[in-house]
């Protein structure tokens, strides 16, 4: 279980997160939505400690700390069990798909090469890219690169995987293959926090949806509560803008 309380982050005078509370039970899939600039990505980056939050309290399993006096061990524990999948894939350019997936296993987890290779091949197989193991990122399509990136995260078997707009940088015809893989990961029981503009997908796979506005949680609840039944005007406008097809309405016509 991951519990965040009062998380704040600002860049100089610009306050991006103004006290975010978020609870992520084990095995749940949490979607974060909101217009651009609302702090969605910053929230994920703070959870993975790619950015240092300015204030707040994080509880993760048995570890609980205030971000202002987090010890190195606390941060290491958090980082070693939380892995991010990025919008722009960020595969290591000079490494093959297989080496990309093996890197964390060999260097961070200190596994034997053979063992790491076995796990990495299994992870690549899960995303349907075992045949492409020896290809370099520049020889793969965007969708394939993102699937390798997901395999790289899966191989480390983290407790939580963060998806930061995983399909925003993709050509339209590649979005589905990536969403399918994410859906499989969600079904496997992995805890997921996902930031995405694919509203129908969020509606479909999430147990909980959080609507961020101005660096704060405006509304949270089940996808239905937040995206359909809400009477918050900001969400209504947002949902209308991002082409969300409300299934319930569709069928009732």
């Amino acid at each position: 279980m991951l519990e965040i309380k009062g998380l704040q982050k600002s860049y100089r005078r610009l306050e991006v997160l103004r006290g975010v509370d978020l609870t992520v039970p084990d095995g749940s899939v949490v979607g974060i939505i909101g217009s651009s600039g609302s702090g969605k990505s910053t929230l994920l980056r703070c959870i993975d400690y790619l950015e240092r939050p300015n204030a707040g309290h994080i509880t993760f399993d048995d570890v609980s700390f205030d971000v202002t006096d987090a010890s190195k061990e606390d941060i290491r524990y958090l980082k070693s069990h939380i892995t991010m999948v990025f919008q722009s894939f960020n595969l290591f350019k000079l490494k093959t798909a297989l080496e990309n997936v093996m890197e964390g296993l060999v260097i961070v987890r200190k596994l034997e090469k053979a063992e790491a290779k076995r796990i990495a091949e299994h992870a690549l197989d899960q995303v349907g890219l075992l045949d492409w193991a020896d290809h370099f990122p520049n020889q793969l399509s965007g969708g394939q690169q993102q699937r390798v990136a997901i395999a790289r995260a899966l191989a480390l078997d983290p407790k939580v995987i963060l998806f930061d707009e995983p399909t925003s940088a993709l050509d339209p015809e590649m979005i589905q293959e990536v969403l399918k893989v994410i859906r499989d990961v969600a079904k496997s029981g992995k805890t997921i926090i996902i930031v995405s503009h694919e509203m129908n997908f969020i509606y479909d796979i999430c147990d909980k949806v959080v609507f961020l506005a101005d660096g704060q949680v405006a509304v949270e609840g089940t996808p239905r509560e937040v995206m359909v039944e809400t009477d918050d005007e900001r969400i209504r406008q947002f949902v209308a803008k991002v082409n969300f097809i409300d299934y319930a309405d569709q069928y009732s016509i």
Partner: protein
């Protein structure tokens, strides 16, 4: 005459290569540290290295060599006078003066190539490494440096070739390397012109071989641009095609 000189010159080749290799290795280490200071913008250190780089790039290398050759003994004397020690520059081999000046001079230049190449690595590469739990040092060693090398290698190859040629100035510190050796030999029969042509050939052969070696190294490090066997992937793609 020109070609019969060459075997006699080879006696001095090891000295030249020794100076070049050691000075270059030292230059890379110093250049890397200077680059890190410049990237991190560490207070005080940043001002010091900026001054150092500006000084080394703004003064002739021969002046730096003489300054080192005469300066180090004077600094030792100063230390002796101040602290009552008995350090003597007589025990320092001449080659050390040449190595110091040549490496510090080259490091000023290579620090700039290294800085630019490290900064050229996309931030996302580092973030991905951190996200899978790699430490800063692991990220630097496994991800950032190899990718930076792709950018830096042509410049670094160039600077090694420059270093080979600059070793010919080591005679200012009373080191007998290729050029100085050649001058000694030519002094016996006053055939200076032929000797300088022989020297030119020797230097050119060395640098030619080196530029080839660096070219190969570059190819090796750009391993992602190699043509790979795409058959496996294509077969799969074919399987996924809908049956007509």
């Amino acid at each position: 005459m020109i070609f019969t000189n060459i075997p006699k010159l080879l006696k001095y080749l090891p000295t030249t290569l020794e100076i070049a290799v050691i000075a270059y290795a030292a230059s890379l280490i110093v250049g890397f540290l200077v680059a890190l200071v410049k990237i991190k913008k560490t207070k005080v250190l940043y001002q010091i290295v900026s001054f150092y780089v500006s000084f080394c790039r703004g003064t002739p290398i021969i002046v730096q060599l003489y300054a080192t050759y005469f300066g180090i003994p004077m600094i030792l004397q100063l230390i002796n006078a101040r602290f009552g020690t008995h350090l003597s520059s007589g025990f320092i081999p001449n080659i050390v003066f040449a190595l110091t000046a040549l490496s510090l001079n080259d490091a000023a230049y290579s620090s700039e190539y290294i800085r630019a190449s490290i900064e050229s690595v996309e931030a996302g590469q580092r973030e991905a490494a951190h996200s899978i739990g790699m430490t800063t040092w692991q990220t630097l060693r496994r991800i950032v440096i190899p990718e930076a090398m792709v950018v830096a290698l042509p410049s670094l190859g160039n600077s090694f070739i420059n270093m080979i040629k600059n070793t010919s100035l080591a005679f200012t510190c009373a080191v007998i390397e290729l050029t100085a050796g050649g001058q000694l030999i030519a002094g016996r029969n006053y055939r200076y012109f032929e000797m300088y042509i022989s020297l030119a050939i020797v230097y050119w052969v060395i640098t030619f071989v080196l530029s080839r070696v660096f070219g190969l190294a570059e190819k090796r490090i750009r391993r992602n641009e190699k043509e790979v066997d795409r058959r496996a992937g294509n077969q799969r793609a074919a399987k996924e095609l809908p049956q007509a």
